[in-house]
């Protein structure tokens, strides 16, 4: 039935393209030609060529370079308090100075070393935990499935930030605990999507064939299912990176993540709320958060379009 649906969907999709074409009153061969051109264009369309993905990649690249060479690039020491406080942006301090007289540009650059590696780390953690739990739940079913998915439901019943806040407040406010908290609230998404994929893949012929050849359940998971899950999970992770940066900086903004004097974007935005005359204190670190999250989302969103529609629907955000 699923196969029929996909088949019909494709046919209808193609039909719709022609139909909504404003020039369809023209000669039939012209319409055909247009359709052919469209098909060719679509075939050319690798996700890596879309302007959105390229923009995202470039921005991420810039941020990565900034993170690796932070100490070389940044004009000043991010922790040095040797300038007058609250200086407006100038030729000397492009982003101005903050409430302790530190150079904000240097702090924003060094902030990449906090936010990006941690976001990567926690997304990988959440991805591994969620994927393994979801795959095991989906493949073996029964009580494992029951327990895992009910836990996921429970976590998802809380707004992410509240649960993360409770976890951090309980464990003590520091960056490590903030990362842990975000992992705790992030894994269920992976578990859900992976479980769904495994449930539908389980019935496929190649899995049945491998089972008949005597493969164990674990072997099926590792050999037959893993490659099929890799794509969707990678896309989900790309989309999740942005969320991770947002949540982590949000916790730091509330004072529950990075502690002073660490150069962390969220905490820097918070410092800006003390003095609204000095707009530059908050604006630049915030813009850095926005840019990096936007880049991850551009990338993730384009990659998702490259997945097959049924899988893409499962991880629509």
């Amino acid at each position: 039935m699923n196969a029929t649906r996909i088949f019909l969907g494709d046919r209808l999709g193609a039909g719709r393209g022609n139909r909504s074409d404003p020039g369809r009153t023209g000669a039939p061969d012209a319409a055909d030609e247009r359709a052919a051109r469209r098909r060719r264009r679509r075939a050319n369309k690798s996700p890596w060529r879309s302007p959105l993905a390229v923009t995202g990649l470039v921005i991420i690249g810039v941020f990565l370079v900034a993170a690796v060479f932070a100490s070389v690039i940044s004009p000043e020491d991010p922790l040095a308090q040797k300038w007058p406080k609250y200086q407006a942006p100038s030729a000397e301090h492009w982003f101005g100075t903050d409430q302790l007289g530190r150079d904000i540009l240097s702090r924003v650059i060094h902030g990449t070393r906090v936010s990006l590696p941690l976001a990567l780390l926690l997304v990988v953690l959440a991805m591994v935990i969620g994927t393994v739990l979801g795959a095991v739940a989906g493949y073996f079913g029964g009580w494992i499935d029951m327990v895992v998915m009910r836990c996921a439901d429970l976590v998802l019943a809380f707004p992410a930030i509240i649960l993360a806040m409770a976890v951090v407040a309980a464990l003590g406010p520091n960056l490590t605990n903030a990362v842990l908290a975000v992992v705790v609230v992030s894994w269920p998404t992976y578990a859900r999507v992976v479980r769904g994929l495994v449930l539908s893949l389980r019935q496929s012929d190649f899995v049945q064939a491998d089972r008949l050849l005597g493969a164990s359940g674990w072997r099926v998971l590792a050999v037959d299912l893993r490659p099929n899950l890799a794509g969707p999970v990678a896309v989900l992770a790309a989309l999740d990176l942005g969320n991770a940066v947002l949540l982590l900086s949000g916790l730091s903004f509330l004072g529950l993540g990075a502690q002073p004097p660490a150069a962390e974007w969220g905490a820097m935005v918070n410092a800006g709320s003390a003095n609204f005359d000095a707009w530059w204190v908050a604006v630049f670190p915030g813009a850095a958060i926005l840019l990096s999250v936007l880049a991850f989302n551009f990338l993730g969103d384009t990659l998702r379009d490259a997945l097959d529609p049924r899988t893409a629907r499962a991880i629509r955000g």
Binding site: P159, M165, A170, S200, D240, L246, L290, R313, G317
Partner: protein, 377 residues
């Protein structure tokens, strides 16, 4: 070709953690109605209710466990240094809060109290948590209502435009805008908006629900805008309304992005159906096709997202509420978390999660009402 994909488990409730929807038990839907043909809808309702109650019970365990299985010491957090040195005071505090009992018995006490409407006493305000929540809920509710209306109108509108102009420039622009909406850190957006519109331009007032000295309207619903209208206090209404504009817009920004993308996908999916083809073939104007044939079926999934978004908004507003000093649930939760105020955190978590489950349940039931295929499948 049912819209319910419970058989695959890849259901449409799956989303990103920010908007974190819950599908109580996706498989329940298919099996429940298959077992008995006579009252499929009644059975559907019962199964959903049962799952909801179980989920609520799980939530109490999680909220309880989370706040108890932690190194934070509520005694040290709540007593002053002098009281801490006095063993009698420490013992009295422990006895009063039942901190000496075993965990299961503490949980049991908590649960029975809860069923009697007693959520404990806040260690910050020394008032019953339920009273504290009662003060905060209307503020958050008012803000969330305003934001969801705004987000629905703009988000669904943009989503439809994007779907209709698929692949052309309006669609592309809307895509970038909605991606920007979900990418912007709300706490920063709130600050920037406050700086620009309130601090620099002075167009709107922000911070709090009313100006510091103002007297709130009589408490009828607790929503200041509604109450002031009911009592005819126009000045108060203007004030309450204008102060809500900024937080509501900021809160809506993220959700506009989510709703736009969801609507676009749902409408596109509906446009791929045979009956849309048939409607076009019989010569209906495109606007009718969109409105009657594509939007109707898309509404069910838009409804789900909107419901869950609303649930998330109630307390997912910690950041906005803190920046714009909106005295709602989020701010209360934040203050409780900082002070290790266990009963209050549990109260907020519990309330929000239960609301979430209830909304989820309502959405599922509405689904059944709107789409007969789901309750009768």
């Amino acid at each position: 070709m049912s819209t319910s994909s419970a058989d695959t488990g890849v259901d449409r409730g799956t989303s990103r953690p920010g908007s974190a929807p819950v599908k109580g038990a996706a498989p329940g839907r298919g099996t429940a109605s298959a077992k008995r043909r006579s009252h499929p809808f009644a059975r559907f309702v019962l199964v959903r209710l049962g799952v909801g109650v179980l989920l609520c019970l799980g939530i109490t365990i999680l909220a309880f466990g989370l706040t108890h299985a932690v190194p934070g010491d509520p005694v040290a957090a709540n007593l002053g240094q002098r009281a801490l040195n006095d063993p009698a005071a420490v013992a009295a505090f422990k006895a009063k809060n039942g901190l000496d009992d075993s965990l299961p018995s503490q949980y049991w006490t908590y649960l029975t109290n809860l069923l009697h409407g007693d959520m404990g006493t806040s260690q910050q305000t020394h008032r019953p948590v339920w009273d504290d929540l009662g003060d905060k809920i209307p503020a958050s509710l008012e803000l969330a209502l305003a934001a969801i209306v705004l987000a629905l109108v703009i988000g669904v509108g943009l989503g439809i435009v994007a779907a209709v102009t698929r692949g052309r420039w309006p669609d592309r622009i809307i895509r970038v805008v909605s991606l920007a909406g979900v990418s912007v850190p709300v706490f920063w957006l709130a600050q920037v908006a406050f700086y620009v519109f309130s601090f620099k331009l002075g167009w709107i007032q922000a911070g709090g629900r009313l100006s510091p000295g103002a007297i709130p309207p009589d408490d009828i619903t607790g929503l200041y805008t509604v109450d002031s209208l009911l009592t005819g206090e126009w000045g108060t209404f203007g004030e309450a309304f204008s102060r809500m504009v900024l937080p509501a817009c900021v809160l809506a920004a993220f959700n506009i992005g989510v709703l736009t993308r969801f609507t676009r996908a749902a409408v596109l999916e509906a446009l791929g159906n045979d009956y849309v083809r048939a409607a076009r073939a019989k010569g209906l104007p495109e606007s009718t096709v969109i409105r009657r044939h594509a939007l109707r079926p898309a509404l069910t999934s838009i409804l789900t997202v909107a419901g869950l978004t609303f649930g998330g908004m109630l307390a997912g507003t910690v950041l906005v509420e803190n920046v714009l000093s909106w005295p709602g649930l989020g701010q209360y939760a934040y203050k409780s978390a900082l002070n290790l105020d266990l009963p209050s955190i549990m109260g907020v978590c519990l309330f929000v999660a239960v609301v979430y489950v209830v909304i989820n349940l309502l959405v599922d039931l509405l689904y059944g009402v709107i789409d007969p295929r789901i309750r009768l499948s």
